[in-house]
């Protein structure tokens, strides 16, 4: 029973971290490798607001969310827009930005183990005989909430529908008067905000270190690749598969292999079906 509950927790955690990345790639085909950097940036911003500037928790989180969303939009406007369409340049540009952000944070002296942001509620609850702490339950709630929000947003609101249109066929969307650059900016801001939300809910579990940024990036890429680059439901399915795979390996084999599982899963996907489980790439576009 414990396995089931914790698998769900891990899956939704993975989903939360990856959904921002999936969103951005789905809409504008931009691999935003700065995702991990933005995640960590949020963590340190919240910490800074709480501890250095004495802002209260709600204010700190909202401010950090806004700042990170703005940073994301700026990244698009000034950097990614110029390199769109050239996959290697995009990856290099966004990855160097991520590196710049993370190493910059490190050079500010934000090293060590003492940087944490507080949990929403401290305490544990026993679910079906298994103790689970409140924060993890909140993560499940927030994760499901985010997915629901995205679904509603992209099906019932105008900007959301525009994003979906762009994801399906950019040119057709442009013909209908949707400004692709503006939408891309909105999309990146949204994706960064999602990374921020993920950071705010997940980072309280442990502490904030720069290395987590790199790990987060690997997980986000893994989830999106397996689920299908460009497919949001795919990301959800992939997150669950990966989450369960990780917990099952930990429980029955040994925890040693769970990172290897992730990387092997990515490789397998590429070999068998590069566009992932639910990807919409045509066969010809993805392999020769």
């Amino acid at each position: 029973m414990g396995i089931l509950i914790y698998s769900v927790v891990v899956s939704i955690t993975l989903l939360l971290t990856a959904i921002g990345f999936a969103l951005v790639y789905g809409v504008s085909r931009l691999a935003n490798f700065a995702h991990g950097g933005l995640y960590i940036l949020t963590g340190y911003l919240v910490w800074g607001f709480l501890n250095k500037l004495g802002v209260n928790y709600i204010g700190a989180t909202i401010l950090s969310l806004i700042i990170v969303a703005v940073v994301g939009a700026t990244i698009y406007q000034f950097v990614l827009k110029r390199v769109r369409g050239m996959p290697e340049s995009e990856i290099i540009a966004s990855f160097s930005l991520a590196l710049g952000i993370m190493e910059g944070l490190r050079s500010l002296g934000l090293v060590g183990f003492a940087y944490t942001i507080p949990v929403f509620v401290r305490g544990t609850v026993v679910v079906a005989g298994v103790p689970v702490d409140w924060q993890r339950l909140i993560i499940i709630g927030v994760g499901l909430g985010v997915v629901a929000f995205l679904w509603v947003f992209t099906h019932y609101t105008k900007p959301g529908l525009a994003l979906r249109a762009m994801a399906q066929d950019e040119r057709a969307a442009m013909m209908l008067g949707i400004d692709s650059d503006l939408m891309a900016v909105v999309c990146l801001a949204l994706g960064s905000a999602l990374a921020a939300v993920a950071a705010i809910t997940i980072l309280p579990l442990g502490n904030i270190t720069v290395e987590t940024g790199y790990n987060v990036l690997i997980y986000a890429v893994a989830v999106c690749v397996i689920g299908g680059l460009g497919s949001w439901p795919g990301a959800v399915v992939a997150a669950f598969i990966l989450g369960f795979a990780q917990i099952l390996t930990t429980a029955y084999l040994s925890p040693q292999w769970h990172m290897v599982v992730v990387l092997l899963a990515i490789l397998l996907t590429f070999i068998v079906k590069p566009s992932g489980l639910l990807g919409r790439q045509k066969q010809l576009e993805e392999r020769v």
Partner: protein, 428 residues
Amino acid sequence: MRKQLSFIETIGFCFVLVSSLLIASLSHAAPVSEGRPIVIGAPLSVGFNYGLGSKQSIILAAEEINAKGGIIVSGKRHPLKVEVADTRDLEPGVPTSEGLMVVEKLLLQQKADFLVGGPIRSEVMLATMDLVSRYKKPSILSVGAVTPTFNKRISDDPNKFKYSFRTSGNSINLTTEGLGVTEQLKKQHGFDKVYIMGQDVAWARASSSLYKSELEKRGFTICGYELYPTGSTDYSMGLLKAKESGAKIIFPWMDMPETSILINQWYDMKVRALLIGYMVAATHPDYWNGTKGTCEYIADLYTKAGTVPTPALPKSVEFVNSYKKRWGKEPISEYDGSCYTAVYVLVDAIGRAGTLDSDSVAAALEKTDIKGTVMGRVRFDKTHDVIYSQDPKEGAVSLWAQWIKGKRVVVYPSEIASGRIELPPWMK
């Protein structure tokens, strides 16, 4: 329409690039001064806790010595100058060659006379041993790099590596400490069921498997033995298994920051086992504030004493106070005492050698015997490693500290303890 730089802008751009290059290289030209300063090179990974703490300890020691007038060699007064260089060796993606380039730069360009401190990662440290031997500069490793391969290399070829020394100790000592504290818990509370969680890196694997086999020989029940890869964010399975098996001690061997997640989960699940072991994440003085007290009752091994003050080591109390005054915090890393001491060990050896010549200083280092340092008595064995003991009058000690009510209390070894190991309330 993308804006391309015009010709003038490109030339200007290149000019800025080249001139900044020149300015940066010029700023390297060290001014030549009189009573020539003795340069201590400190290759450290300053972007990490270990590196930053070591840097601060070494600089503190150097400043103290300079305040007392520096080192006197053949009648001349020499101030100490510390050159810290960032090796980035603790960063996962960085190749060892970076660290080696930095050490070479320190030795060749920045004219370091001696090396104190790192490199910290064993792989880089082992490669640096060859450099140290090639350039013939005494080096005292004082942070991390606890692999026993160091001892092996020196005993295999003592002449080649005669300039390499180490005050940070050996990973086998860590296992001995772990066994000692576990035996004490068995005596005090009858705990004989242990759940071991190690990190999936070479030192932790070696230490934890040695720990496991020794415990089995002494009649303990091993309820579980797991290895977690670096970066693991979930310990729920392990903790649940520990709960079900009735383990009374959960012993981690981890140096990754994600250990905090383990600690928080242990606290939240109220697992009826004492969380005691080697968890570097919890050795930071701000850890209590950071976790808002969820780290209470965890007991943590500090490889070398000095970081947490205890009356049995009077120098450590002085050290912690000076460190706090100079840097605003108590020592942030478990090796701070070792780094601070290493500088004094070097100065002591130079004093006895009476010269700055490398061979003489190396020979003097071998005969080092300083009592009453922040970590006990410092002597080197035949493999140039600091002699370890649980008695500060015999050798360098490690310490175990437990977080109680926001403060760290030294609980083991008994020769230096200022309190007993407390059990969390849900275990009583």
